[in-house]
Amino acid sequence: MKRGMLSLLVALGLAALVAGGCANKEVVKSEEPVVKAEPVKVEPPKPEPPKPVEQPMPVEQPKAEPPKQEEMQAAKAVAPEANFETVYFDFDKSDLRQDARDVLYKNAEIMLKNNPDVKIQIQGNCDERGSAEYNLALGERRAKSAQQYLITLGVPADRLSIISYGKEKPAVEGHDEAAWAKNRRDDFVIVK
């Protein structure tokens, strides 16, 4: 049974890869169909753990905030354990390169095979060159590209959420193509 599921998954994955491969020839325009296909999303309304309902509260809660930052980093630290790999993008692009599709295939396997209960947040990021405002939206589009592809590979949509950090959270410092290439990315972070 389990084996059957897996081969089905592989078949689905291959189909998606083929489909993706075709789409690749028209990458420049292909972002739009991807986004257009978007409205199908029925799942997202699933809210994340109910955040404390916001009532105008005194902001002087620096004690509560810094841990949040650490939490994020802690969450990040979990990711390598589960072997989720980072996906990288070309400048000002959000379409998935072949290497990105390969990585997403592996990430989908990890989610479906080894960690069937785990939920992940896909965090879209940009390099420092674009404008901060525009990059917030570009980072979201990158996260969405990966999300859509993982759904195509059979990952239930309710196990995937996205966020964009624009260029606010570079993975590496540096002002050359080597650094930029590492910063144009989707990170996969386990959420509870």
Partner: protein, 427 residues
């Protein structure tokens, strides 16, 4: 009738005659000889002069006037010329001889925390007082009083008041995280606003200057919050799923335009100032961000990459009549509408970084204003004389101010860390 005509002809032939007579100049007309302004050392009304206070007052006025480009200002630090600051007691001869057109004289009293200052502006050539103001307050008001009188000088000289008592909100990494802070327009009186340890972005002032909206990640998602400058409470405005970014207060204060991605991808919406009643203005599979209101509230400029690369577009506030504004350059972002409504400032990515441009509303007159280092995030002063922007020309990102024609580029931020995304307050 005939006499009037002759006078008119004379005035047309010698426009400078008119100016010399009234003491007025046109700020916007290039080629005017720059006026020379002397700022006399202030008289003290106290037993002992307060040299630091006196120096600070004169340096504030000199900085403001020099930045305005209307007059080149010199401060006189030696003892003031004898005689009190009244017209009758003012000896204009030394100033006239030294080539000054305008003279500021002042007297002050600083007893404990109580400050009294009186400034007077004189037309040296015509030996006239042009304006005078007396201020009563506390020691901490000293810079504000001097800025306020610089506003009066500009009013007297150009018939348009200055904006020197305004402030700039911006994003600073002084504490390590991106937090919102406020400073006087000249970089003094740094005041941190947020201290939430998260990422805070894109401040924008309410039209009454009392509140600032910004995007914060303090609860994980990029949400739009506001807070009053007088308060520490951060109030959520829009915490919709996805992006709640690049908020811009409408000129009448009733609405906020922003980019939301709740319906799939980043689109421009307006919401009421309390966050309710979202109205979607753009419908496109592309990215739409960075809305900027025209001063009459009838149009919105924004960034869209619907043609492949980010460009500036303009639409009516109901989302209709969309047209492309920028046609040169392959990456144009962060439009900001001038307070007079005639031009839009934006940043263009070109070799090696961004540069600030301004362009007419019909797409003509596209003009590059900066060229040293990388410069972005323009923000107009409320009188339209200046544009604040962020620049990395000196290494770390800092806030600079220039005149709207690109001249006089001057670093104003003084605190540590990177300082970016300036938003100028209203008057």
């Amino acid at each position: 009738m005939r006499i009037h005509l002759i006078i008119l002809l004379i005035l047309l032939a010698f426009p400078s005659a008119l100016r010399a007579q009234t003491g007025y100049v046109e700020v916007t007309a290039p080629g005017n000889r720059q006026l020379k302004l002397a700022i006399d050392a202030p008289h003290t009304l106290d037993a002992k002069p307060n040299v630091d206070a006196a120096k600070e007052m004169t340096s504030v006025i000199a900085f403001d006037m020099n930045m305005s480009g209307t007059a080149s200002a010199d401060t006189k630090d030696q003892l003031p010329l004898p005689g009190n600051i009244t017209l009758a007691e003012t000896d204009f001869v030394p100033w006239l001889t030294a080539g000054y057109d305008l003279l500021v004289r002042s007297e002050y009293s600083l007893k404990g925390d109580d400050l009294t200052v009186e400034f007077r502006l004189f037309d040296v050539l015509n030996r006239k007082m042009m304006t005078a103001k007396r201020y009563l307050g506390k020691a901490r008001d000293l810079r504000r009083f001097a800025h306020s009188f610089a506003d009066e000088i500009l009013l007297a000289v150009t018939s348009e008041k200055g904006c020197f008592t305004t402030r700039i909100a911006f994003v600073t990494t002084q504490t390590g995280n991106k937090e919102i802070a406020v400073m006087d327009w000249d970089g003094h009186n740094f005041l941190p606003l947020t201290k939430n340890g998260s990422i805070n972005l894109n401040p924008d002032f309410s039209p009454d200057g009392r509140e600032v909206i910004f995007t914060t990640y303090k609860h994980g998602n990029p949400d739009l919050y506001k807070r009053a400058l007088s308060s520490t409470t951060e109030i959520p405005v829009s915490r919709r799923k996805g992006l709640n970014i690049t908020g811009a207060w409408s000129p009448d204060g009733s609405k906020i335009a922003l980019a939301l991605s709740k319906d799939g991808n980043a689109e421009i919406y307006t919401i009421s100032k309390d966050g309710s009643n979202p109205v979607r203005l753009t419908v496109s599979p592309a990215i739409e961000v960075s809305p900027a209101w025209s001063p009459d509230g009838k149009q919105i400029a924004f960034v869209s990459d619907r043609l492949g690369k980010p460009q500036v577009f303009v639409m009516n506030t109901d989302g209709g009549n969309v047209r492309r504004l920028t046609t040169s350059g392959s990456y144009n972002v962060t439009p900001r509408w001038s307070p007079k409504g005639d031009r839009i400032a934006y940043a263009r990515m070109q070799s090696g970084g961004f540069q600030i441009y301004t362009i007419n509303i019909d797409g003509s007159g596209d003009t590059q204003l900066t060229s040293i280092g990388s410069n972005e995030n323009p923000s107009w002063s409320p009188d339209g004389r200046f544009i604040a922007f962020s620049s990395k020309r000196g290494g770390p990102e800092e806030i600079y101010v220039m005149r709207s024609d690109g001249s006089g580029q001057t670093k104003v931020s003084q605190n540590k860390g990177n300082n970016g995304q300036p938003a100028w307050s209203p008057r």
